[in-house]
C-alpha cells in the first residue's frame, strides 16, 4: 500500500531571526526547520542569505499565513508567484498554510479568520486548494486554526469540515495540537473527538505551541511554554497517528535557542512513550 504522506522528518523548530547566529555557530542537533514563507519574499538581504546557509545543513518546510485559501476574493496571483519562486529556491519538503481566510474586498486583516463549517465552504475551499496544488505541482498541507468565534450557520463540527476539505481537495493536513486544545476550550468541545474525527491518512505534520488563558477564553499567542494538557493531547495524537513530523512554534517572547531545544527534548520524550504505548 502506498502512503499519501511523506516519511516523518522527526523533531524541528520554527526558524526565527533571533536564532540565526546561534544556529550557524552551533549547528544544533535537531531534525528540521519550518520557515515562515512571507519573511523571505524579498529581493535579497541578510535574512535570505542566513536562510540559505542554514538550508544547506537542515531539511526545511515552508509555512505560510497569507494564502487566504478560504477567502471569497480571487486567489492572489502575486502571492502564488512569490510562493513558487521561494519554493524553487528552498526546495522544501512540503508547503503548508491555514484553513482560514485573511481578508475581504482587498483589505487584509493579517489574521487567521475562521471559516464557517458549511458544505458551501467545503466546496469553495477544495476547488481553490486544487488550483494551488496544480500551480505548485505538489499537495498542500492545511492547518486547523485557533478560533475565538463559531458561526450560527455551522453545519458540522470543525474536524469534519477539515476532513471534508482534505478529502475533496486531495490535500494533506497539518494538525496543530495546541489549536485543537484552544478551540476545544473556546467552543466547549472534546479535543479527543477532534483527534478521532480527522482522516489519519492525510496527517503529515504536527504543530505544538504555548498560549494564554484568560479564563473566559484562550488566545493562541505562541509566546509561552507548551502546557502539560497540550503535551497530553500530543501523546494521544501520536498514539493514534504515529511518529508524525513535529515542531514547536514560538513567535513572541522568544527565548535563547537552548530553551527551545530543551522543550523539544521534552516533545521527543512524550512522543517516544506514546509510540511505545502504541506498539503495546
Amino acid at each position: 500500500m502506498t502512503s499519501l504522506t511523506a516519511a516523518p522528518l522527526g523533531f524541528g523548530l520554527g526558524l526565527r531571526s533571533d536564532h540565526y547566529a546561534a544556529i550557524l555557530e552551533r549547528r544544533p542537533r535537531l531534525d528540521w526547520f519550518e520557515i515562515l514563507s512571507e519573511n523571505y519574499m524579498v529581493g535579497g538581504g541578510p535574512p535570505l542569505a542566513n536562510l540559505l546557509c542554514i538550508r544547506a545543513d537542515y531539511p526545511m518546510v515552508m509555512h505560510g499565513v497569507s494564502l487566504s485559501i478560504g477567502a471569497s476574493d480571487p486567489l492572489d496571483e502575486n502571492y502564488l508567484n512569490e510562493l513558487k519562486k521561494l519554493s524553487d529556491i528552498i526546495e522544501p519538503k512540503w508547503i503548508s498554510d491555514h484553513l482560514c481566510w485573511t481578508g475581504y474586498g482587498g483589505v487584509n486583516l493579517h489574521d487567521l479568520m475562521p471559516l464557517p463549517a458549511t458544505e458551501e465552504a467545503v466546496r469553495h475551499v477544495a476547488e481553490r486548494v486544487r488550483r494551488v496544488q496544480d500551480r505548485l505541482g505538489r499537495r498542500l498541507l492545511l492547518e486547523n486554526v485557533s478560533s475565538y468565534v463559531a458561526y450560527a450557520q455551522a453545519e458540522m463540527p470543525e474536524w469534519q469540515f477539515l476532513g471534508a476539505v482534505a478529502e475533496q481537495a486531495d490535500c494533506l493536513i497539518l494538525l496543530d495540537i495546541n489549536n485543537i486544545y484552544v478551540s476545544a476550550f473556546n467552543h466547549d468541545f472534546n479535543a479527543l473527538d477532534y483527534l478521532d474525527g480527522v482522516p489519519a491518512a492525510r496527517i503529515q505534520q504536527f504543530h505544538l505551541a504555548g498560549h494564554r488563558n484568560y479564563q473566559s477564553h484562550i488566545i493562541d499567542t505562541h509566546d509561552q511554554l507548551i502546557i502539560d494538557p497540550v503535551f497530553e493531547l500530543y501523546g494521544e495524537a501520536v498514539r493514534r497517528f504515529g511518529p508524525i513530523s513535529t515542531m514547536i512554534e514560538r513567535d513572541d517572547n522568544i527565548p535563547p535557542l537552548q530553551e527551545l531545544l530543551d522543550e523539544l527534548d521534552r516533545v521527543r520524550g512524550v512522543a517516544a512513550s506514546a509510540v511505545r504505548n502504541r506498539a503495546a
Partner: protein, 262 residues
C-alpha cells in the same frame, strides 16, 4: 448566508464599520462581542506593532502616546491592502506629509521617508558592487560614454531637515532636528550586509541623480562646468566615481569601447 457576505460582515466588524456580525456568531461560552473583539483588537494591535518595528526612531521622537495616535490615524486612512505586513507602512511618509495634524511638522515625513528607504535597501536584491580596480582596467576610450549602473538597493531621499543623524541616534538622544540652510540629498544603499547612508555634497547630489538616470560620463562633466573649469570638472567627476566605487554604490560600469587586453 453566503460565505462572501459573512466575510464582508466580519471584515466590517474588525474595521469598526457598521455590520451585523453579532447576529452571526454561535451562542455559548464567552459573550459574542468579547469573542469578536479578540479579532478587532488583534488587527489594530498587530499593525501598530508592525509600524513600531518599522519606524522605531519615529516612535522615540514622538513618544509612545503620540506614536500610538499616529498609528491609529494611519490605520484608519490606510487599511492594510497587501498580503505581507512588511509593506503595510509604505504610505506613512506620504500620510505624514499630507494629513492634518501631522503635515505641520514636515520633519516627521522626511524622517519616515528616510527610515523606509533604509528598510527597502535592507531587503533589496543582492549584487556584489564593482570596485576601483574595475575603473582602473577601463581603456581610455571607454570613459566618454561610460554609464554607471547602481546597486538595486540605492535610494535617494531629499530632506530639508537634518533627519539623517536621527536614524542612528540612541532613543534618549532623539530631538527635533534643525532646519538645514539648504535642502540636501541623502543616499541610502547596501554594499554588503549593512545598510549605509550619508548626506551628499551639493555637486555630488546633482551628479549621482543624473548618473542614476543614465547620464554618460561626458554629461556628468558638463554638469560641473558651470562651477569649475574643464580640467577641474573632469577631475571631480572621476574623483566622485572613484568614491562611489570605494563605497560600493556601483554595480557595474557600462561602456561601448572594446576592453583592452593589455
Amino acid at each position: 448566508m453566503r460565505l462572501a457576505d459573512l466575510q464582508r460582515q466580519f471584515t466590517a466588524y474588525v474595521l469598526r464599520r457598521p455590520n451585523r456580525m453579532l447576529d452571526l456568531v454561535a451562542e455559548g461560552g464567552a459573550p459574542a462581542d468579547l469573542r469578536l473583539g479578540v479579532y478587532a483588537h488583534a488587527y489594530g494591535a498587530r499593525l501598530a506593532e508592525v509600524l513600531a518595528n518599522d519606524y522605531p526612531q519615529l516612535r522615540s521622537l514622538l513618544g509612545e502616546a503620540e506614536f500610538e495616535r499616529l498609528a491609529l490615524a494611519y490605520l484608519a486612512q490606510h487599511p492594510s491592502d497587501c498580503f505581507n505586513a512588511r509593506w503595510f507602512g509604505r504610505h506613512l511618509a506620504g500620510f505624514l506629509a499630507s494629513a492634518q495634524g501631522w503635515c505641520e511638522r514636515p520633519e516627521l515625513a522626511e524622517l519616515a521617508a528616510l527610515i523606509w528607504a533604509v528598510g527597502e535597501a535592507f531587503d533589496a536584491a543582492d549584487v556584489v558592487p564593482a570596485t576601483p580596480a574595475d575603473a582602473g582596467s577601463l581603456p581610455q576610450a571607454a570613459w566618454l560614454n561610460l554609464r554607471l549602473e547602481f546597486l538595486p538597493s540605492l535610494r535617494l531621499v531629499a530632506t530639508r531637515w537634518d533627519v539623517a543623524p536621527l536614524v542612528r541616534a540612541a532613543a534618549e538622544a532623539m530631538a527635533r532636528p534643525r532646519r538645514l540652510p539648504e535642502p540636501v540629498l541623502v543616499a541610502v544603499w547596501r554594499p554588503h550586509w549593512e545598510v549605509e547612508f550619508r548626506v551628499l555634497d551639493p555637486d555630488e547630489a546633482v551628479l549621482l541623480r543624473a548618473a542614476g538616470e543614465g547620464a554618460e560620463f561626458g554629461d556628468l562633466c558638463q554638469l560641473l562646468l558651470s562651477s569649475a573649469g574643464e580640467t577641474a570638472a573632469i577631475a571631480r567627476a572621476v574623483g566622485l566615481i572613484r568614491l562611489w566605487l570605494e563605497q560600493g554604490l556601483i554595480a557595474r560600469l557600462e561602456h561601448a569601447a572594446p576592453l583592452s587586453t593589455g
